[in-house]
Amino acid sequence: MHLSAYLLLVASLLFALFFAGAAAAQLWQGRSTALPWIEKAHLMLTGFMTLSSVVLLHALVNFDFSLVYVASYTDRALPLFYRMTAFWAGQAGSMLFWGWSVALFGVIFALTGGYRELSPQTKLWYWLFFLSVMAFFLLILTAWSNPFLTAAPAPADGNGLNPLLQNPGMIFHPPLLFLGYGGFAIPGCLALAQAMSNGYGREGAWAGISRPFTLTAWLFLTAGIVLGGWWSYMELGWGGYWAWDPVENASLIPWLVSTAFLHTSVIESRRGKLHRVNILLMALTTISAFFATYLVRSGVVDSLHAFGDGGVGRPLLIFILASTALTVAVTLIWRKDDAKPLSGIDSREGFLVLVAWVLLALSAIILVATMWPVFSKFWVEKPMGLEPAFYNRVCLPLFAGIAVLLSICPWLGWKGGVRSMPKLLAVLGVMAAVTAMTWYTYRMPMAALGAGAGAACVAGIIILLTTEAHVRRNNASLAAHGVHLGLALMVLGVAFSGPYKLEQEVEIPRDATVKLGKYDLRYVNLYEGEGAGYIFIEAELNVTREGAPVGVLSPQRRLYAKFDRQAYAEAATIFGLGDELYATLLGVDAEGAATLKISVNPLVNWVWIGGTLMCIAPFLGLRRPSSSRDEDDDTGDGQEA
């Protein structure tokens, strides 16, 4: 059965190659007779990939350790839920999951009205690009990263799933990222296809047709990134949520490029400008998703996440370089003559362009900085890398700048001018007041600006929603404002929980008290206990604030049966919308004295609240708007501000 699952993947590869070739041949001949066959071939290929995914899932669920993949990531003690999610615990499985989800997105897209209205030529170009991407996935799965490798004799038990991954937060973090990466393949291929077929004006614009896919992919990617941060804060026990590690940076790059695209695409859909920029940005989004995987999987940069080189590094790099060359060529060749010039920079259009610049600058900086150990080898004898402090110094001011732009932008007209001076002044007043107040208290200019701009965005969006009825009625603009409100809350959360966090590592005997800021933590007791598959010790800390009780912190250390000699800290928190108290138990000595890491994290939960809002709000805007363009008005603001 494993062999047949592998053969299904080989068959899919042949299908993808053959029908991509068929699409190319038809384009060359100027015909489109094979189009129905190509569409059916993709259905077939998706069916094959689904079948092989089912085979893998079946093996995982039924402890079939004759598969190397199953033996590597599961064992007999693993609960059913985690056996299923071990699908994407390793490289081969996650490549299969990613490729499979791209194929499914392709099937869904082919069923939409937007696809059916396309001209046959655009469809052929689309399938040529899309099936080439599928062929690449299948080549990796059949050549370098085969999930159906077998071992004989089969081991009696598997290696088990890493305890750090046995957590709901972690288990959904990778597939969300892959769904995000995968979703961008549709708009990316369609953008290039429509440019090649010159279908502009004669059929629906690609950006509008594929917008539901772009937004879906974007919200999955956002959810994946936020969930990863939350998991690292709650589970890893180091008390932070973002470390500028190469693997984290890798997922941020496609997010930044796609977000830049979402902004420039507004100018195209509402104002009929920037077509070329949008093709380039969309295709780059798709490519950067592959680049993210390359960074993670190739071992090119030493990271905390030691995935090692699974053999897919070189093919990925070749694919990335080739598709980047193709994209640049397409955007250079393609011209649209009736494109209009942009309005002045002091208009809403201008601000959207500015935001796109900042986002693209961020992605370029993060890309270069992450790859710096590789690049620097060309001119210094030993590789140089950049500390997290570099990213904080360079990137945080740019993020604060985005928040400043965002608080002003909704009050500008599309062609320039201020829509409502009193409201703009009110928002700027909030920004100035909050910035001054936080600067006066803490003397950190950039954090103060971030706080001021975040507060100004929140105030501005509230004013907008309460005073302008047409904004409330328009789902697309509600979606945009919801995402922006989420972002503003996140900016506030980061601007406070980053710089003003109090943290201490202490070793204290029982009944002793530590003071941290306004809080007193008293270590009252130590327990031992047993959970599912692990034993634990637990410290009990009573927390008071200026004498008033706040709550109890119970951080644990756990020893898992499968992973002996290795203890895992389970962090404990006392939830708060203001200060959140956080403790991890690092160790206990023979007399019962505990070593603890304790911290007070101001406003940290707003990062998660804001992040959740950013993932939920786009659902409002998923439906394609019926009227696509309003040429020349500043009333009835749709889309994004």
Partner: protein, 140 residues
């Protein structure tokens, strides 16, 4: 506003923006870049160049000792490829859960100036996300 004027405003804004970003990046590169070295590479460099580096290696089986006063650990860091080449490391602070002999770790810190028997002072000690990844599977 005339179109020409609008375009030049964009160019001015772009120049200002790139200038600002360039300044940030330049100051970041000059102040926050450190050598990323394997143990063997670090040993090959003069110690005055090792004031602030990030070093990659494997924790040796022998020589792990807890500090007597407070949390922390002393250990020998081996080169990943040449286990013969080692550096003594002293780290004061919370030791990660997954720290033990044989794991790959990353230390950030510096080598105090002076003799060859110097001990690397690590400000941070990070273990790589543990076990069960492709590398080990290929060996086994």
């Amino acid at each position: 506003m005339s179109k020409k004027n609008g375009k030049s405003l964009y160019l001015v804004a772009l120049a200002l923006f790139l200038g600002g970003v360039g300044y940030l990046v330049f100051s970041g590169f000059s102040q926050n870049s450190v050598y990323f070295l394997n143990v063997s590479e670090a040993l090959a460099m003069p110690s005055e160049k090792l004031q602030s580096i990030r070093m990659f290696g494997t924790v040796a089986t022998q020589g792990i000792a807890k500090l007597d006063d407070g949390p922390g650990v002393r250990f020998l860091l081996e080169d990943k490829d040449n286990p013969g080449q080692t550096v003594r490391v002293m780290y004061r602070g919370a030791v990660p859960d997954t720290f033990k002999e044989g794991v790959e770790v990353i230390v950030e810190g510096g080598m105090p100036q002076g003799g060859a028997a110097a001990e690397f002072r690590a400000k941070t000690l990070m273990t790589k996300c543990p076990s069960k990844y492709e590398k080990e599977n290929r060996k086994g």
